[in-house]
């Protein structure tokens, strides 16, 4: 009788002991991953998606490296090292492939095993996660602005954008139109998007890094058309956003709205997302339209100085980003629908990436800080579009 009363307590006790025992004998085989997950859970709101997405993509690459110890044993070989690459959503496939390539290269050159963990979510959310303590070695985000935010907190040294070639952007992309097969609404250029009855799908520039490229491309077009008349440009983008029936919070959300739910006539998308959609869903469903002018989207990369110094991973972290510029890596980049920087590779993939005039964030918009302040900050041009009474 007495024993029965105590049963739930015993069960609880047994459960606690059991879970402690499991933890102690390495139920979680991956301590750094564990640490990463727990630091994630400290972040407020939205960041929980990062821990879920942290994949161990390169584990299979490391498993077969134990076999050949005899060949070219470099003297500097030390214990295995692990990197965390914090990136944004659409680069998942690219880095899954690149990490294998880099791990093999590093093993051969330095006889050291390197495992790279990936973390993917919205670019801004990822940047906040790093600011809030996610121990990233490198960040590969959608906009310089998001890396600037980390640099402002002192985690990355100023002048990070000059550390690697091409503005620290090993690959570029641009903004294109994805339309339904046969282009029933006859959309050829930006000015077709403000016609009545055309539904445009784009995410919200206030919540999505990709959408900021979309918006700036439209703004740049309107400025060129109207001899830099800002009022006309404002009228243009405001007309464009009046044609937007759904303002998703992220780029993948917008792609889903357009592609899966069949809403809208045209999707403003990253070129790599558009090419991926066409490849995944069949060329019989969608066409890609290149407008007369677009914007050069430069997703930059940076080493998180504070973190690599603490962990002693600077050499491998810098090599990881440097290697992105080599021919092998650039081919991989192109195969994943990003525009390669290396000319020799770009020529091979010339068919995939048509040449169009592109605006540049630094030359045409005075850099991210200024563009952000003018267009996307509270009370900026984008807010004015949705101000009451307009």
């Amino acid at each position: 009788m007495k024993k029965r009363n105590a049963n739930p307590l015993y069960a609880l006790l047994i459960f606690i002991v059991f879970s402690l025992a499991l933890t102690a004998c390495g139920w979680d085989q991956d301590p750094p991953n564990n640490a990463n997950a727990s630091s994630n859970s400290n972040n407020k709101a939205s960041n929980n998606s990062t821990s879920g997405n942290t994949t161990t993509a390169t584990n299979d690459a490391t498993s077969d490296t134990n076999t050949d110890n005899s060949a070219n044993a470099a003297p500097e070989a030390t214990g295995p090292v692990e990197l965390l690459n914090v990136s944004y959503d659409p680069t998942r496939e690219l880095y899954a492939a690149y990490n294998k390539l880099f791990a093999a290269y590093w093993k051969q050159e330095h006889n050291q095993e390197v495992t790279i963990k990936q973390s993917h979510a919205g670019s801004g959310a990822q940047s906040r996660a790093v600011i809030d303590g996610l121990q990233a070695d490198v960040v590969t985000l959608a906009l310089g602005y998001d890396i600037d935010a980390i640099a402002d907190k002192g985690l990355i040294d100023k002048g990070w954008q000059q550390k690697f070639d091409n503005n620290s952007s090993p690959y570029t992309s641009t903004i294109v139109f994805l339309v339904r097969k046969g282009n029933p609404k006859g959309i050829k250029d930006w000015n077709d998007l403000i016609k009545p009855g055309v539904q445009v799908i784009t995410p919200n520039p206030k919540t999505s890094g990709g959408a900021r490229w979309n918006y700036l491309a439209a703004w740049g077009y309107a400025m060129k058309q109207n001899n830099d008349d800002e009022d006309k440009a404002k009228e243009f983008v405001s007309k464009l956003f009046k044609n937007v029936p759904v303002l998703d919070s992220g780029a993948r959300g917008s792609t889903t709205t357009f592609v899966e739910k069949g809403i809208g006539d045209v999707l403003l998308a990253w070129e790599n997302e558009a090419l991926l959609s066409v490849k995944e869903l069949g060329a019989d469903k969608f066409d890609i339209v290149y407008p007369s002018i677009s914007i050069l989207a430069e997703p930059p990369v940076a080493v998180v100085d504070k973190n690599v110094d603490k962990k002693g991973t600077r050499a491998v972290a810098e090599a990881y980003l440097d290697y992105l510029y080599t021919e092998e890596a650039q081919k991989l980049v192109a195969q994943n629908y990003y525009r390669p920087q290396l000319l020799s590779v770009a020529e091979q993939f010339a068919d995939q990436f048509p040449d169009i005039p592109m605006l540049n964030i630094d030359d045409d918009f005075g850099g991210w800080a200024q563009a952000q302040k003018k267009h996307f900050a509270d009370g900026g041009v984008f807010d004015q579009i949705y101000a009451p009474g307009s």
Partner: protein, 282 residues
């Protein structure tokens, strides 16, 4: 001695004593609720009163409060009515598949809200399964406040059903029979005998569903269309502020929502307490 006699007569508790459990309760609540909430107030205090007012009284922010609170209210109201009917059917009748329906009620709790949001949108979008049928009637569901309400009804449903069900189950049949014997029929029995017993539970369910709706983000963000001034919910504006690294602005909006929902919940609790007392004294 006096104290020893009282100690002996006090019934021994099954779990460890009051001191330990209260200590645990306060520690647990502090770590999980009070400290994080206090963090909101601390972060917001970085703003001057003017900045704070400017942030929280922005027309777009006000519009989003309206969307959030009104759709949550309507959704909770719908759940109040239909949750009661569902609970009633589940308690009072026997039919094949009852166990299945009973377990279906809890599904909205288990389903990731984003999944719920995406599937609701797929069904109610203008070219979706249901959306296609109602569009010729001039009715748009997805990407309107109606769609948001629908998502909130979905996630709030279990609250009313699960709070009313046990009360209904415990209701004495004899009281009802007595009422009928005394000449009260159907509607009157329900209104004068059953409903007063249910009101506290109904109010609890309503409050829970309402509170859940106000803070809901995952399921709404897909079906709302997020159009500023029209279907933008307050939690999305908080995310928007965070995305611009404006932590203070985000917490300012969060604080206003917290205060308003706290007042509303207090009000509902007060009503519940009053109706509870009326039942006891009547």
């Amino acid at each position: 001695m006096k104290s020893s006699t009282t100690k002996r007569t006090k019934p021994r508790s099954v779990l460890p004593g009051f001191g330990l459990s209260l200590g645990f309760t306060i520690f647990y609540l502090s770590v999980l609720v009070i400290i994080p909430l206090a963090g909101i107030f601390v972060k917001t205090s970085g703003l001057t009163p003017e900045q704070f007012w400017h942030t929280v009284s922005n027309p777009r922010v006000i519009a989003s409060y309206k969307v959030s609170f009104l759709t949550s209210f309507y959704a909770a109201l719908a759940n109040l009515v239909f949750g009661l009917i569902i609970a009633w059917v589940l308690v009072r009748y026997r039919f094949p598949g009852k166990k299945l329906i009973d377990s279906l009620i809890d599904m909205p709790f288990a389903l990731p809200t984003a999944v719920a949001g995406i599937s609701l949108t797929a069904i109610y979008a203008p070219n979706g399964w249901v959306g296609k049928l109602v569009e010729p009637l001039g009715l748009k569901i997805a990407f309107t406040p109606l769609g948001i309400t629908l998502a909130l009804i979905f996630i709030g449903l279990p609250f009313v059903v699960r709070t009313v069900q046990p009360v209904l189950q415990d209701l004495d049949n004899e009281v009802e029979e007595a009422a009928v014997m005394l000449g009260a029929f159907r509607l009157r029995t329900f209104r004068r005998v059953i409903l007063p017993e249910l009101i506290p539970a109904l109010l609890t369910g309503f409050a829970l569903a309402f509170a859940r709706g106000i803070g809901e983000y995952g399921s709404v963000v897909f079906i709302s269309g997020n159009m500023p001034m029209k279907t933008e919910i307050a939690p999305l504006l908080i995310m928007t502020k965070l995305e611009q690294y404006d932590y203070k602005g985000a917490t300012a909006i969060a604080m206003v929502m917290l205060i308003v929902s706290f007042i509303l919940l207090l009000l509902i609790n007060y009503l519940q307490w009053r109706s509870n007392r009326r039942v006891v004294t009547a």
